[in-house]
Subunit: 268 residues, 4 copies
């Protein structure tokens, strides 16, 4: 098979063969990740170790073949190998080979789960891109606002954790240090509320009440920021008339614009 033809199958999504190739790879990734997850359950993984070992080698060989095909077919090879997909493709096969040299290393098992990252390739297919792009774009536009919000939350949980530690120290067996106070503040402010670290004193409970109401309320801030940006993006898309200025090529116009807002040319 010519390199170009293989490229169309391996990287492309335009031909039936290319789509089938992608679907098979995605299926293999999902099955191999489920296998890794099941293998960690003692009652399953410890009972059939040989079976899981064989299965893992099968996936590794298949992914190795796929990786070799991708390297062969990639047009600028270096670019593929150093890309995000190229690295995750490599990471998904390395652990098994390393397992031959280093034994009894459970962390290798975990690295194999990183295979799931390869599934992001799916988002390069079809209209997922444009749909996801709107959200990503909105998140990027609100990057600084979210950073300011996170800093504010970080400072808040440190101060609240310090106060809680001061209030409950010596009386609460689960808050013996400031980091434990901060952990409590995070658990409470985010409204997760595990219940493993709860206030036991009256003042501690009053402080906790304030933090809970704070956490309940300030969720409105990141939600408001992201919603405003997404609304703006979606709304902007709806209101624009998608006309292109014949003079300057500007595409940003209000829906009822008759003249280009950039150069004054009449829009057709």
């Amino acid at each position: 098979m010519s390199r170009q033809k293989l490229h169309n199958i391996v990287f492309g999504t335009d031909t039936p063969a290319g789509r089938w190739f992608d679907l098979i790879v995605i299926g293999l990734i999902l099955i191999s990740v489920i296998t890794v997850i099941l293998e960690t359950i003692p009652s399953i993984g410890d009972r059939w170790p040989v079976f899981f070992n064989k299965l893992e080698w099968s996936f590794t060989i298949l992914f190795t073949v796929e990786y070799a095909m991708r390297i062969y077919a990639a047009l600028p090879r270096r670019k593929y190998i150093t890309s995000f997909y190229g690295i995750t493709d490599l990471i998904s096969i390395i652990p098994t080979y390393l397992g031959l040299i280093i034994t009894g290393q459970p962390s290798l098992l975990i690295i194999r789960v990183l295979r799931i990252l390869r599934i992001f390739r799916i988002f390069g297919m079809g209209h997922f891109v444009s749909e996801g792009a709107v959200v990503v774009q909105a998140l990027q536009a609100s990057r600084t606002k979210i950073l300011v919000f996170l800093s504010f939350m970080g400072i808040s949980v440190i101060l609240l954790g310090a106060i809680m530690f001061m209030v409950e120290e010596g009386q609460n067996p689960s808050i013996n240090s400031m980091p434990e106070g901060i952990y409590w503040a995070i658990v409470t402010l985010t409204t997760v509320g595990y219940g493993d670290t709860v206030p036991v004193t009256v003042i501690g409970r009053i402080l906790a009440s304030v933090v809970m109401i704070m956490g309940y309320g300030i969720i409105a801030i990141p939600t408001g920021i992201v919603t405003a940006e997404i609304t703006n993006t979606v709304f902007g898309k709806t209101k624009s008339n998608n006309m292109i200025c014949p003079n300057c090529g500007n595409t940003k116009h209000l829906k009822n614009a008759a003249y280009c807002q950039h150069c004054g040319e009449a829009l057709i």
Copy 2:
């Protein structure tokens, strides 16, 4: 009674008789569902088994009569029988009859709860449709975005669960396998926080803090997506009638505009 007349009563909501029929059926459904729920409470269901058995047969006979009436009155009969409502109507009577043949099967009891699905018929009444439709429409419009978000969340909980398992394995009695790690990640990321699976190591708690803040923040994404769509739908509906002014060509009018807001020309 003629088939057409019965059809108006059984399926229609325009006549007083039709509305009464619907209200009675809805009342019967609610009472029968409450009965099934109460029957499962050991101190109630086990004390009066004969009473509940008789009650169940009464409901079944009433719903059977109703089902027969619907089949008789339905104008394209096959369409009704194979419709969502037709199937739920059948499901709500089958379990009791099956209980005569198969005994000691508690799952039959559960299937009877499916009767509650028949209540959806209520949403076909009055202005519930249009109100609910706006929301359903917004959810459908944001389908792909939500799917991308769910995939992102799925990949996140698998990776976070794997890391947590690696960190806490052997030290945390409630995280012994990757599925338990993933369960922890879901409980934490969604801010549910049961407290049955909590990190016990320092690194585990730091990881948990990151996941909690993540979960607290990324709720903004689906909320933003759905809000933007609903805003767009509501806003679009309220603000514009899509009419073009015959004099000046202006297209921006309020929904109920009779005259062009730009030049005063009457809108057709």
Copy 3:
């Protein structure tokens, strides 16, 4: 003092005397509610029962005097007595008098807390009305949508609770009946997650994961509905030019409207 003058003080907020009267009453309400709350703490209420009894009688006499003044000053007396405020004013004094006849009834203590409802009177003051009105208006406009959403949630928790009961029955000591399953579904779907009722089986945990992600996601629906309505109200307020048509009196115009969209009259 004339009845009109007393009316201005007791009901009005325009005169300094009227504002002072309101502030004193609000202060008394808050202090008396705090007193009731503190009285229920065994280590406080049981130690000084006489003190609390005297305090309660003082508040009751003051509120009785206030109630008498309001009845005297109210212009259409019957209207005040049967109004929401008139009833809450009466409720806040009755329990103490009833306590003379009926003794050892702790529920009377609770009814005294209903006094806090009188604080709503504060919302009739100043610009709280218009600010709160925007939100109330938005909630009323989305009433049907929220009702549909609540029905959907009600049906969901019944079905999810039934499935959970079926899955965990006999294995989970905290889920012994369908109502307990429904309670679990509500605790989980609303992301509260007490941790008193948690799944213990594998299938139960998988179901719980689905419910948690559902609950995490569908919060977007009521938020989206309310946000869209509030945005619409606020936005509509901003975009409107607040002009009144000199011909037909219509006030709803787009910001840049030159002609009335209702009758075509030129706007000044």
Copy 4:
């Protein structure tokens, strides 16, 4: 060094020296806060008390020098000393000196954490201001609405807590007084759900279910308020430049419009 030159370095962010000074100070603040946090962990702080004492004195001396420099360089000195930053700068050095006089006072340790407040100085840098300002502006604009919402929540938790106390008293060991009932109501309404105070009676659980659904739903109100305000701010900023066309008087232009979108006239 001249006072003006020192001012540019210490307070300014325009010169490389000024930026470096800020970065070093922020670095020192973060390191010193982390030191305080670590010192509270018994296994760390109690093992090397001398080391932490020396470290604390180093930070104190550095911050004292910085504070002296700021006082010297501040142009209206009184204004700096009495400003928020001036006070937090002083607070961050006082505890250590006070520790010489008063010993064995753990609260001094906590006051040292207040140093983190100095980090807010960072928000005075670069474009953080304008980004954060949009959010702060939106929060200020919705101040009254949020206050009304908080009052409503306050009244709700008092009433719900009172009812819960009445229902569960004597049967629930964790609800023995009205304040504990109110604490339960806050934990539940904010969807935190620690699980340390849970209903045990049937009526209590039904009430809890209502409170949970309430809490799940009314989060939509503050979110809606804040989102509407942020949308309004962002939208207003992006969409309009408030210019009036000198030819046709049109006021609706995109922010960067150079020509009127309605008649093509150049905008001044």
